[in-house]
């Protein structure tokens, strides 16, 4: 790719000086080596240092730079800038309070993550060596443990938008199932009890926006379905 200019429309809001949010029109010339949206955002920032966004690993594993790109949630570092329709519209993740520009307050998201007790529960005295787990048992965790907590899924979920305080959301539920599915964990019943509520689990209406946006190609809807199955099986 050669040098080219890309046009952007970016949500801007600095509570320290702006009475209200606005959309900024700005364009930037990219170097041939700039491939990802994040490369372009770093160039934009060199031009206007007040543009604020989170970023860290730039390779899709830390989960910092989730934003709304042309109407769809994704990671800026994994998005090819040349594939995007211009002007590229950048907004903060929907459904969470905006702190500044593209930076949202993720308190509610992490509160839900923490609410599922995201840690292994096993009260047996730890053995001298590793707890054994067969390759097949371990395989059950694939598609679950890879979650990077970027919040693309939960903030694409209408149920989470309406009830962020009550509905755990796709990311939290995916993580809940990660521990339920772990043969080393002893708290399956406790974990199911914790989700037995009209909102926490059952607000998922399988709209599947989460699956559509997950930058790691994970499937929270399937994990949620498996939790629902366990609930039903437990009830009969």
């Amino acid at each position: 790719m050669s040098k080219r200019t890309v046009k952007f429309k970016i949500y801007r809001y600095d509570p320290d000086k702006d009475a209200a949010p606005y959309m900024q029109d700005i364009s930037v010339e990219l170097d041939p080596a700039d491939k990802k949206l994040l490369d372009a955002m770093v160039r934009l920032k060199a031009k206007d240092d007040s543009l604020s966004f989170r970023r860290s690993c730039r390779e899709g594993v830390c989960g910092s730079d989730a934003i709304n790109i042309n109407g769809k949630n994704g990671l800026a570092c994994l998005t090819d800038v040349d594939d995007l329709k211009q002007p590229v519209v950048l907004r903060p993740l929907p459904g969470l309070p905006v702190i500044r520009d593209l930076i949202v307050d993720m308190t509610q998201f992490f509160k839900q993550y923490h609410s599922i007790k995201p840690y292994l529960i096993n009260d047996d005295p730890p053995p001298e060596r590793e707890r054994l787990q067969s390759p097949e048992e371990r395989e059950e965790l694939n598609g679950l443990y890879e979650c990077i907590l970027c919040a693309c899924c939960s903030t694409a979920c209408p149920s989470f938008w309406w009830n962020p305080d009550k509905f755990v959301g796709p990311s939290g539920l995916l993580n809940a199932y990660r521990f339920i599915a772990d043969t080393r964990d002893q708290a399956v019943n406790e974990r199911l009890d914790n989700l037995e509520d009209p909102y926490r689990l059952f607000r998922c209406h399988t709209i599947m926006s989460c699956v559509d946006v997950c930058p790691k190609s994970l499937n929270p809807t399937r994990a949620i379905g498996k939790i629902k199955d366990l609930m039903v099986r437990r009830a009969v």
Partner: protein, 597 residues
């Protein structure tokens, strides 16, 4: 001094692997602990580690900590301290098993044990053949580890201050460390964290180079803070260039790819590592492989239209192995190199990756500095672990998988030292001098009032280009000399950086300016230490110290078997001896020898 103050037993700066592991010790011991991190803990760069963590569990091949110790000392080109290395390799099984008990989703062998794969420089029977020592969760080991450690801290109710950036280390006139001044990114609030113990676990600073595998946030904050507070930095000339960064993008491709059977090939398709390392071949240690690659490229055998990279080939592996053991690599390769490694080789080039040096510590995680004739006197109240620290277990070159081991072992040991010192009543809450926060506040005030000068991004780019050109894989006498002059000029220009953004709220321009101050300290330390070391050793190889019978590989043990200490105040260097004696009688010292693979 109108500034908020919070008081804790201990403050930990950084919530990557080392910080989280230390935090567990403190939380579980009931110390009032604040963990500060400028990113949410699971965003820390430990998350990007791929290939595994070393431990001589012997799950798939026979293994022994003596062999691991030998490999590590040899890998370090004998600059690693053998007491700390013995400590680390002997603790390896314990800390890895603990992690498994915390819930880390390691891959498994058919018998249900932790899966282990071969890795560069790790061998059985003192260099005879590759050994399976790297405990792995596919090629996402760092991610799995960081999340498991964070999760365990959630269980332990650790108190985090998320998205707070530490600005400066507090010390009193007697040299006692009193905590840090920190800035809350969201509000711009500045606060003193006054503590009996301060633990730095701030990670590396590979972003001083233009091309780096590191995250944007790896800006050497702990090193900058330590240097400004009069603590020397150790062995900063030693930088690891990882052989396999994606050409052009810099994104890491794990050595685990070669552990699973991947092969490096030049323009002719030749497996060139056979010529450079007849025994371990593609699994020779990283400095050796990186230099071999650059030699191939320099001699015109590189690949691509510009012959500026080589190829990492796994097309001969079965797609099942790739999908199962290297799924993340396939994803990275498709996304950043545009090739599916099942079908075509990945273009790779050596890329700045890891800082072997750092804040000097002993194996207990206590920060040490020269005082009253002892080069390694503990600094009261100050501890460090992980990539920001130099214990020194990696010496002049780190082995792959020893970094995750380092952060577990020394994160834990720093935590244990704090707890022990606290319980023994050795950690006083020294009073804060009236001017404690002045340095940090002055830096903030300068940025606030500076109306013109140098753009942060321009100075940063000048620093990165200078480091890349003058202190790369191969080093040259003249370039190093010029590099010192140049980096001091860049440092001068960093004194008048300015930012347009003056907002209090989440001011990332200000954050980047403050980070640049830290990067500049690291860059100066690296260039000045490198220029001064007139030998070749490990990752530091220079043209005027070639391989001769008198100095094999250009290494000069008579004059240079010593650690560098760089002092930030006046850029002067001191040296201290390398510990060549293991800590116990269970191990023989690993005798000096020429390094070949």
């Amino acid at each position: 001094m109108n500034i908020a103050k919070r008081t804790f037993d201990a403050v930990i700066v950084g919530a990557g692997g080392a910080g989280l592991r230390a935090a567990l010790q403190l939380s579980e011991a009931g110390l009032r602990t604040a963990v500060l991190s400028k990113v949410f803990p699971t965003r820390s760069h430990t998350v990007a580690a791929q290939g595994g963590v070393a431990a001589s569990l012997g799950n798939s091949t026979e293994d022994h900590w003596h062999w691991h110790m030998y490999d590590t000392v040899k890998g370090s080109d004998w600059l690693g301290d053998q007491d700390a290395i013995e400590f680390m390799v002997r603790k390896a099984n314990e800390v890895v098993i603990e992690l498994e008990h915390y819930g880390m989703p390691f891959d498994r062998t058919d018998s249900g044990k932790i899966y282990q794969r071969p890795f560069g420089g790790h061998s059985m029977n003192y260099g005879k053949a590759p050994v399976m020592r790297s405990c792995a969760a596919a090629d996402r080991t760092g991610h799995a580890m960081l999340h498991a450690l964070y999760q365990r801290n959630v269980r332990a109710n650790t108190q985090f201050f998320v998205e707070w950036m530490a600005l400066d280390l507090l010390r009193d006139a007697g040299g006692n460390v009193l905590g840090v001044v920190a800035l809350e990114l969201e509000t711009g609030e500045v606060s003193i964290f006054h503590a009996r113990a301060t633990v730095f676990a701030t990670g590396g600073s590979g972003r001083i180079f233009y091309s780096s595998t590191n995250a944007f946030t790896n800006t050497g904050d702990g090193l900058g803070m330590a240097a400004r507070a009069g603590i020397p930095l150790e062995d900063m000339e030693f930088w690891q260039f990882h052989p396999t960064g994606v050409a052009g993008a810099g994104v890491l491709i794990t050595e685990g790819v070669r552990g699973e059977g991947g092969i490096l090939r030049n323009h002719d398709g030749e497996r060139f590592m056979e010529r450079y390392a007849p025994n371990l071949k593609d699994l020779a240690s990283r400095d050796v492989v990186s230099r071999s690659m650059v030699t191939e490229i320099n001699e015109g055998r590189g690949c691509g239209p510009d012959k500026d990279h080589v190829m990492l080939d796994i097309t001969h592996l079965s797609p099942d192995v790739i999908m199962k053991r290297l799924p993340g690599i396939r994803e990275i390769s498709i996304r950043f190199a545009g090739v599916d490694p099942i079908k075509a080789p990945i273009p790779v080039v050596p890329t700045a990756h890891y800082q072997m040096g750092g804040i000097p510590t002993n194996y207990k995680g206590q920060v040490v500095a020269p005082r009253d004739g002892n080069p390694s006197t503990p600094v009261p109240g100050f501890y460090a672990a992980g990539e920001c620290a130099c214990a020194s277990v990696h010496g002049a070159n780190r082995l792959g998988t020893n970094s995750l081991l380092d952060l577990l072992v020394f994160g834990k040991s720093a935590g244990e030292s704090v707890v022990a010192d606290f319980k023994a009543g050795n950690l006083a809450l020294h009073p804060l001098p009236a001017d404690a926060a002045d340095r940090a506040l002055a830096r903030l005030a300068r940025l606030e009032s500076q109306r013109d000068g140098n753009a942060v991004s321009d100075v940063r780019l000048a620093m990165q280009r200078t480091m890349q050109k003058h202190a790369g894989v191969f080093r040259f006498k003249d370039l190093l000399k010029e590099g010192v002059t140049r980096i001091l000029e860049v440092a001068e220009s960093a004194r008048t950086t300015y930012i347009n953004d003056k907002s209090r709220v989440w001011n990332t321009a200000r954050q980047e300016a403050l980070e640049l101050d830290n990067q500049i300290e690291v860059a100066k330390a690296a260039m000045i230490s490198a220029e001064a070391r007139k030998e070749s050793r490990g990752a530091h190889v220079r043209d005027d110290a070639p391989d001769t019978p008198e100095h094999p590989n250009g290494r000069n043990d008579q004059d240079w078997l010593k650690h560098t200490l760089w002092f930030g105040a006046d850029n002067h260097l001191e040296y201290k001896p390398v510990c060549l004696k293991p800590m116990s009688g269970d191990a023989e010292p690993i005798a000096l020898a020429k390094r070949t693979y």
